[in-house]
Each structure stands twice: as structure tokens, then as C-alpha cells.
Point group: C2
Chain length 304, copies 2
């Protein structure tokens, strides 16, 4: 039997849904032990238990981000897979929810309504505008599809890949400034690696036009936070929506809480719904059982 330990805030739902799948040779256990070979759960909780799992063979993370398990001081003698391919739709809802709120003046109209004012100010439209994606993996590709659905032009900045057919124009390497110029929207979806740290800095923000919107759904480390405060407070950027931060939860005294035209969404853009993650786990368990390579295996060195 393969003994599986589940470490997640929705443990009961995960257990129930996995049991319903009646996977062969799988037994779900309640606590860490010398016999546990498989773990499904949240990287933070798993990190704490690593020393108690000597037989560990495979960890399926319920999140896309697995930073807590990448610390070089930790063991790497197991296969780590993350959750991928399930967050694209949720990220699109998030990004386009905020973009449409902005274009369609939802908050301004609400203010007018509170004042009993018939506000016939014409709205903007996403159609014809240009969105730039910092990183075009599976989430970026989904955002590109949504942008196309709304009639936008899509630019993508990647290390070298040009695999998404919905990206109208790709930029790489030193072309970061050229990529930013002329964007109406910049969305960061890059993972946290040494190359992506503070990639959104004062220089990149200055290259964006003043009417641009910046959205960060990648990692907080990708952003130079003081540079963003400065750009927003001096109207060199119209709006920012931040789901991720260098330090989470955001510290009580952080200037972001009161920065002009900045929206804080507390790392809620793409929640892990058990029904989505269980599908990833089941597919991977089948591959594991038959000795095949697993989907979404994380390279400990590369960081994603």
C-alpha cells in the first residue's frame, strides 16, 4: 500500500474526494510516520514535517508556489510536483475583474449613485488596448486568451519561449524597456527566481505610459515596492492591483495600505479549490503507480 498524508486546510474535502476515486493501493493516513511515502498539501505545512517523513517519495503541492520547500538547507530526496493548469481561469477572472472595474468606472459610478447623480460619462473599453504579460506559462497563456476574447493586443516577455499563439508579439532579454513602452496593462505572472527579483523596478515603471495599470499575480519579490508607491503617488501610473507581496500578510505599517490608486487583494487571486487539485493528484498518482514521469515536476535548482 502507498500511504498518503494530507496536510491542507481543506483536508476533509481532499480525503473525501480522493476516497471517492478509489485509487488502487492507496491508503490515506492521519499523521506523519516512517511509512508515509506520499504527501498532498500546502508547502508551509509540509516543510515543518519533512524531518518526520524518512520514506518520503513524492510531494504533490496544492499551490503553484513551492518556495517554502526550495530552501537549500532542506532535503531534496523526493519528487516535488506543484499545481499547474488549474489556476488560469481563476487568474483571468481576477485580472479581468479589476481591469473591467477600472475601464467601466464601476467605483466612480457607485459614488455618483450615492450622490443621487445620473452619471452618463462614457466608459472606456478594453477593446483595442494592449496588455503585456511578464511571463507566459500556462497562466500567462490563459490570460492571453481572455485578452483576445476582449479584443486586446497581447505582448509577452519571456526568457526565450514563444509557444503561445495568442501572443501577438514577443520580447526577450534586454527588450524589457521596449516591451513596457506603449502598454495599457502590465501583468506580472513570473515565478520567484533569482532572475525575476525586482524585475518591476523604477525603470520599468517609468517606461509604462501614465494611464497604465499594473497587476501583480506572480510573486511579491518581482516588484520594487517603494518604486511602485512613488509611481502611483505622483500619477506616473494610473492603478495597481497587488495580490502578492514581499512579506505576507502585508505588515500593518506598510505604505501600500494607504497608497493612492492601489488595490490589495491578500493573495486570493487564484485559490486552490480541492476539486481542481484532486484532479491533478489523481492523474499524477496514476503516473506514479505505473513508474512514469509525473506532471508538473519542480526543478529544485531552477525554482519552478
Amino acid at each position: 500500500m502507498n500511504k498518503l498524508l494530507i496536510i491542507a486546510r481543506d483536508s476533509d474535502q481532499y480525503r473525501q474526494q480522493i476516497e471517492m476515486a478509489a485509487l488502487p493501493f492507496l491508503e490515506i493516513v492521519q499523521s506523519a510516520s516512517e511509512e508515509v511515502e506520499l504527501v498532498l498539501g500546502e508547502p508551509t505545512g509540509i516543510r515543518a514535517l519533512l524531518p518526520e517523513l524518512p520514506a518520503l517519495k513524492w510531494v504533490q503541492a496544492t499551490w503553484a508556489g513551492v518556495e517554502p520547500l526550495l530552501d537549500p538547507s532542506l532535503r531534496r530526496d523526493y519528487i516535488l510536483t506543484n499545481a499547474r493548469g488549474v489556476f488560469g481561469g481563476l487568474m483571468s477572472e481576477f485580472v479581468f475583474g479589476y481591469l473591467l472595474m477600472h475601464e467601466r468606472r464601476i467605483l466612480q459610478r457607485l459614488d455618483a449613485q450615492k450622490q443621487g447623480k445620473w452619471d452618463s460619462t462614457r466608459t472606456g473599453t478594453l477593446r483595442g488596448k494592449t496588455i503585456g504579460l511578464l511571463g507566459v506559462g500556462s497562466i500567462g497563456a490563459h490570460l492571453a486568451g481572455s485578452a483576445k476574447h476582449f479584443g486586446m493586443t497581447v505582448h509577452g516577455y519571456t526568457r526565450s519561449s514563444e509557444t503561445c499563439s495568442q501572443v501577438d508579439r514577443y520580447y526577450h532579454g534586454a527588450e524589457l524597456g521596449a516591451f513596457a513602452t506603449g502598454l495599457d496593462v502590465l501583468v506580472n505572472v513570473l515565478p520567484n527566481t533569482s532572475q525575476t527579483r525586482k524585475i518591476v523596478d523604477a525603470r520599468l515603471l517609468a517606461a509604462l505610459p501614465p494611464q497604465a495599470v499594473f497587476i501583480n499575480v506572480g510573486r511579491g519579490t518581482a516588484l520594487d515596492e517603494p518604486a511602485l508607491v512613488s509611481a502611483l503617488e505622483t500619477d506616473r501610473l494610473a492603478l495597481a492591483v497587488l495580490d502578492v507581496f514581499e512579506q505576507e500578510p502585508l505588515p500593518a505599517r506598510h505604505p501600500f495600505w494607504h497608497t493612492k490608486n492601489l488595490f490589495i487583494t491578500s493573495h486570493t487571486a487564484a485559490p486552490s479549490f480541492p476539486q481542481d487539485i484532486v484532479k491533478v493528484f489523481i492523474e499524477n498518482y496514476r503516473l506514479f503507480s505505473s513508474g512514469k514521469a509525473l506532471n508538473y515536476q519542480v526543478d529544485f535548482e531552477r525554482g519552478y
Copy 2:
């Protein structure tokens, strides 16, 4: 020469863009006269000028709604075409902007932020929810496509047509109650006709589940307004977004201004952008010049 009169708040833009198209035998004139045969503009303004246009042959409206020209006391000795096929994308931005605001708790998260609170409440998702379209013409079909993009199930209520392949299930005639049961979202996109008046009444609202959202982008006459106030104030409906009203602008003392969970958007959902309408006009002018049937001709009796 065909003399064209333009009556619109963006007259200069219309004139400029039509002149750039250099249409043969077309002359744009500045005022109504005995020689004007063609008019492009807003139905309200055109209505006032009808007696001064004895040679009128064709009116291209810049709006979808042409009620001001349908009054039985007015002449009907000309071809009336409305603007169609250009509002679908704008309507999708509007409808999905408000739906995403609701699902993703944008206003609640903003409140939390103002209180300096890290709000990690999980969001909802549109995926897997069911949207019902009251009316599936070109706008309804576009909304159906957007709903599918976001992973929703689409139900449609029409008189008899079943032409949109993105609608998962159609309802007709007496099936209105069955159509409403189980919807998470109801969107009215019906034109104003004798059959659609007060179609959204207390009974239909009662058939919707209490978590449902109602959006009216069709015509204000389709809604029994007091019934909606009652449903919202007693939490039998979660949210309503109204772009259109029985009387516009909405009167200062109307209860809607202060109804719980109701958003007023002052007939701004799908503005007529000159670049869109000019395309419709040019295509129709070519058909007109060659003696062919025009696109989007309105049936004065039927009302659309």
C-alpha cells in the same frame, strides 16, 4: 449626389470618419432641407426633424434602440436601420465586469483594505455557474460566448429561435419559470415590445434562487420596478445591476437610488463609438447605392 445629414453628439467625428472613406456620390450637409435623403444619428434628434425632411429615404440610427421613431403617429415612409453587431463586446465587458466584481468580492476587499485588514476570505468563481439570457440576438450571443469563456453553463429564453450554438439549453413560451429556476445570473437583453413589457415581474424574480444576480441591459420597460425593490430589500435576490429604466434619467425620488444591493449605471453599458457605427453606415451605404436590401432594417410594427 446623396445628401447626408448627421445628427449626433459626436457629429464632427462621424463627419471626419465618413469623409475619410470617400464614399461615391455622397455629400454631407449641415442642416435639414428638402433635398436630404439620408440621415445618420440619434433617434431622439431625428424624430424632431422628421417633418423637415420630405425627401427622406433612409435613416441609419447610431443606437440599437429606436423607440423614439416607432411612435405610430410618426411617418414610416423611409427605411430605418439600427446599429447592431457592434455592442456585443461592450455589453460583455459591462456584464462580466459587474459579475466579476461580485464573485471576486472587489468592494468587500476594498473595505477590508481601508481598515488595514489582510482579507484572505476565499473568493467565488464564475466557473460552473449558470447564466440565463432573456433574449438571444447578437448581443445575447456575444454574452453567451463570454460566459463560455469563463466556464459557465448558458441557458437561453427566446420566442422560438435556437440559433446560438453556445447556448446549452433553450426555453420558450410558458417555460419562463423553469428557465429562471436554478440560474445564478439572469441577464435581460430583450428589446422593448408589447410581449416583453414587465416580463421580469414578481413571479419571475421569485423563481430565481436568493443568491442570484439580475442584470438589465435590454430595456427598462421589461422590469416591474417595485417587484425588484421588494426582492432586493428582503434578500430574495443578491444583487441587481440596472443600466436601463422605465424613465431615463432616473427620477430624483425613485426608490432605486437607495435600494440595497442595487447598482445604477445610467444607460452607459454599451456606448455608440463613432468608429463602430461608421463601419455599419459604410457597409449599408454600399448596399443602398447598389439598390440592395440594407443590414439591420427595423420592422416598424414588430419594434426591432
